[in-house]
Symmetry: C2
Subunit: 226 residues, 2 copies
């Protein structure tokens, strides 16, 4: 119904946008733009409703595109989701790595690096809350088609944190008794849950504010009268 209504409803949405590398094969701009719109639509819908509860029709409608276009651009609903996942976590990993390297270049300590990564995490979640939400919801599921993709991509991100932790231990800055793997997971969890709570229940607070609170916790400046 209303056959002509959807054709020109192209609003330049930015929420959840994750501009993809135009480096790969100068493929037509038109197609890339369509894929982008589909990513944006899928990210928010799946974050809200979950993968199974989100229909391809919904995604197409939200993107202002016909259903067939979805299948012209992606082999299946799962593939669309998988590519979305890979792309998103790739951005996060790059951001974490950059934060660690920048800190090192500036001669900061490993705690400084950790702190910079906490901030990078917050910035990411601030920019892509829907993606983060969706990612958390899927991460610990088992027996799903994209599980391996999820694992690989998760490991890449956590490995950055683990790396800094290990370097800190080697440099004598951290206790040799810390459990690198578990501590990395705990730190990620700390930022993740705190940030999701921030976005869900206190969205008016500033990033700096939240960062300061987490910094304090990270550096053990909780006990004592401060």
């Amino acid at each position: 119904m209303i056959p002509n209504a959807s054709l020109h409803a192209r609003v330049p949405v930015t929420i959840g946008a994750m501009e993809s590398s135009s480096a790969t094969s100068g493929g037509s701009t038109r197609r890339e733009a369509t894929r982008q719109k589909l990513y944006e639509a899928a990210v928010t819908l799946i974050a809200e409703q979950g993968f199974s509860a989100t229909t391809v029709d919904e995604i197409a409608e939200r993107a202002g595109v016909a259903k067939g276009t979805v299948y012209y651009n992606f082999a299946s609903k799962s593939v669309l989701f998988e590519e979305l996942l890979r792309h998103g976590v790739g951005l996060l990993t790059a951001s974490l790595r950059e934060a660690a390297e920048r800190t090192a270049a500036e001669g900061g300590s490993k705690v400084d690096a950790l702190d910079a990564m906490v901030r990078a995490g917050l910035v990411f979640i601030d920019r892509y809350p829907a993606f983060t939400q969706l990612y958390v919801a899927e991460l610990w599921r088992t027996n799903r088609a994209w599980q391996s993709t999820l694992m690989v991509v998760r490991q890449e991100a956590v490995a950055v944190v683990e790396g800094v932790l290990r370097e800190g231990v080697a440099a004598g800055e951290f206790s040799e008794e810390i459990d690198v793997q578990l501590t990395a997971a705990a730190l990620v969890g700390m930022v993740l849950v705190a940030a999701l709570d921030w976005k869900s229940f206190q969205p008016e607070r500033s990033l700096d504010d939240v960062h300061a609170a987490l910094s304090r916790l990270l550096q053990g400046r909780v006990s004592g009268k401060g």
Copy 2:
């Protein structure tokens, strides 16, 4: 296919089992047992696949019960899920509260209370990993039928942590500058993610081991040579 195979496959499963309070209305034991089986079946299936991807037929089959029985005991799939949620988080909240009170009764500090709650959290996740998984996956979603239930129940649990934090501040044990709400969320996240990682990737480790690692992090004994 294989019509009779599933009927008598009643293994006394404990994973995800959450014996409900028999205190409320001495309702017939039989019915309660059936509901229990349905909870257990639903918890694992939904944890693996998500709510929408899990069919009522699957739940009934896994519980070793006819489909009609599901609808005799619960008004709908959503209601079954909602009651499951309420029940599970209720157990967690009670456990956290008990840990805090026990520590206080033993004359422990607020850090001790926090530590006891971390352990209680780990014990819970150790016992009900599937429930935890499912809960995390749903917690930050929006626009779902059971959202309000989820929120209420979440707040009850987090409030216990916040309470201890606040008492610690009042007693001068914690800095007055800590952000109670955010710190509580961060602590919960720390335990949650660390525990899920433990269960997913290093299930052979002992609870004490994991608890020790988190304790160290909690008390800021990470920096320095330990």
